[in-house]
């Protein structure tokens, strides 16, 4: 299979990555090369094989629903691009 320029733009939009026309063209070439490698998987009959989602077949560990972390808001917000009164600032979403 081979991707189209339209698909590259669509995926970039889904991934929230701005992409210029030149970049989209270059990316298309590279992705098609990579997908021709990936396509080698399609020749394998995997019917009845249980997908392996993780390196260890273990159930997710659970813990009791208790507060275990101290409040470190100031330390964490010190590295944020823009904050005010303990809140993260982003461009206005609702007019």
């Amino acid at each position: 299979m081979s991707l189209t320029l339209e698909q590259v733009r669509r995926v970039a939009q889904l991934a929230r990555i701005d992409i210029s026309d030149v970049e989209a063209e270059n990316t298309l070439g590279h992705l098609n090369g990579i997908f021709s490698l990936i396509e080698e998987m399609q020749a394998v009959d995997t019917r009845g094989i249980e997908p392996m989602a993780h390196a260890q077949d273990l159930a997710q560990r659970l813990r009791s629903d208790e507060v275990t972390e101290v409040n470190r808001r100031d330390a964490y917000q010190a590295v944020a691009p823009e904050t005010e009164a303990g809140l993260y600032l982003v461009p206005k979403v609702i007019e």
């Binding site: 080698e40 998987m41 394998v44 461009p91």
Partner: protein, 484 residues
């Protein structure tokens, strides 16, 4: 002093032959003098390192030192260290001073080790040559025209150039073993879940695993003793009893059964590299080991499956970099979506964007079954191949990389060629097994690494197998020329 083993350094510190401050200063001076040739470090902070060294000297003076107290170590810049710039090789985190310590850093701090600096790496650990770093390519100390391997290329170059006694790395598809092999070092990727991933910036969460890069198996064992351990803050950390990974180092290898997968010894490997691997295996036979031919029939599918699974997980993990809570934010934008898109377009490098796009595509509606689920089924087949293989042998051996270090720029324009340089290492991550690279020769002045693959939790056995070889060979003791 700079060529001593970690236990040798610990002895020198315990016997007051040198203080931690002196030892740390020795390395800091070397970094200041020599690292412009290699670009192994992204961040060095003399004040912080010397403060830790001073505290370590206090511990040593009061007799409370452990095996790593006062020893300076290079930390891959993927590990968050409180108060240290932690970039992960990316412009996206170019201004990120971590407000907390990764568990691995916490363990080293508790052991009294000194952070010597943060090492260069492929951006978000995505690369096999250390060329994708926002902070520039790293040069291989054995030949500065060549790459050091990746993604832990800065860590490997730092140790090879004697700019650190040892370092940490992380391995998602070979990122400890391949740079260790290309820089003539010993590297260990533990069983998935042995080393906590908390504070280790995530690339592909079901594959990522931290581990040591050092000059010998013995040094790796000492480092792993500090790195490993259950951590409730990592939901995939395994709750197992603590181990002393150095306990079996001296065990004789008589009767060891070495599996040689025919898929590792066919076409595709450089003949010079193969000759070194075969000589290493001959050495193991002299040590009393037996060899048996085995097969990993689905080996050839490891690279294709990996380049679905790893990008899929990466596209999800890297969605957190949105210019809101930390890191880079684009200077100009129209609205919220535009801010996300411009921030990510400007903050990520080309290879990272490529993998996010692959991941987003294979997880998108209509392609999920054909790619993602198919890759996970193949992952199971690959893991099953290893289970079957370990019924016939104790350890698997082969090359780490099909070639020695390649030239800077040689594969940078062709992602597929770059991906195929990890052909022998990737299956180990998919299965979650431990693996090592051990220096086993030089071809054209460049190191070759023998790869050891063990069954789950066989780290101490692997270290034993590597150590006994290092008792009868001196490849691990060789250094590049012109390092003074």
């Amino acid at each position: 002093m700079i060529t001593r083993s970690l236990s040798g350094l610990a002895r020198a510190l315990a016997e007051r032959e040198i203080s931690s401050v002196e030892l740390t200063r020795l390395y800091l001076d070397r970094i200041a003098r020599l690292d412009s040739k290699f670009n192994a470090y992204i961040t060095v902070d003399e004040e912080k390192s010397l403060a830790q060294a001073q505290a370590a000297d206090g511990l040593l003076a009061s007799g409370r030192g452990g095996p790593l107290t006062g020893i300076p170590l290079a930390q891959k810049d993927i590990f968050c260290a409180k108060g240290w710039l932690t970039t992960c090789g990316s412009k996206m985190l170019g201004n990120f001073v971590s407000p907390y310590d990764a568990t691995v850093i916490e363990h080293f701090n508790a052991a009294g080790a000194v952070i010597l600096g943060k090492t260069n790496m492929d951006e978000f650990a995505m690369g096999s040559s250390n060329e994708t770093s926002h902070f520039g390519a790293v040069r291989n100390p054995w030949n500065t025209e060549c790459v050091p391997g990746g993604s832990s290329g800065g860590s490997a170059a730092a140790v090879a150039a004697l700019l650190a006694p040892a370092a940490t790395g992380t391995d998602t598809g070979g990122s400890i073993r391949q740079p260790a092999a290309m820089c003539g070092l010993t590297g260990l990727k533990p069983t998935y879940g042995v080393v906590s991933r908390y504070g280790m910036i995530a690339f592909a969460s079901s594959l990522d695993q931290g581990g040591p890069i050092a000059r010998s198996a013995e040094d790796c064992a000492l480092l792993l003793n500090a790195m490993a351990g259950f951590d409730e803050r990592d939901s995939t950390s395994l709750d197992r009893p603590a181990e002393n990974y150095a306990r079996d180092l001296e065990k004789p290898l008589v009767g060891l059964k070495i599996g040689l997968p025919k898929e590792f010894f066919g076409e595709g490997c450089d003949p010079g590299v193969m000759k070194c691997i075969e000589e290493a295996i001959a050495e193991y036979r002299r040590l009393g080991a037996e060899t048996v031919e085995i097969s990993l029939p689905n080996m050839k599918l490891a690279v294709p499956a990996y380049y679905v699974i790893a990008p899929a997980e990466a596209s999800s993990n890297l969605s957190r970099f949105d210019g809101v809570r930390y890191g880079y934010r684009a200077p100009e934008y129209a609205d919220l979506n535009d801010m996300y898109s411009k921030t990510r377009a400007q903050g990520f490098g080309e290879e990272v964007k490529r993998r996010i796009l692959i991941g987003t595509y294979v997880l998108s509606h209509g392609y999920y079954d054909a790619y993602y689920l198919q890759a996970q089924r193949i992952r199971r087949l690959i893991a099953n191949d290893f289970v079957a293989a370990f019924n016939q042998c104790d350890v698997i051996m082969g090359p780490t990389s099909p070639t020695t270090a390649f030239r800077i720029g040689e594969k940078a324009a062709d992602p597929v060629q770059m991906y195929l340089s990890d052909i022998y290492t990737i299956a180990v991550n998919l299965a979650g097994l431990p693996g090592m690279a051990v220096p086993a020769g030089l071809v054209g002045g460049l190191p070759v690494g023998l790869q050891l693959i063990g069954n789950y939790f066989s780290e101490s056995r692997l270290l034993n197998v590597a150590h006994r070889y290092q008792q009868v060979t001196d490849w691990h003791l060789q250094h590049p020329a012109g390092l003074d």
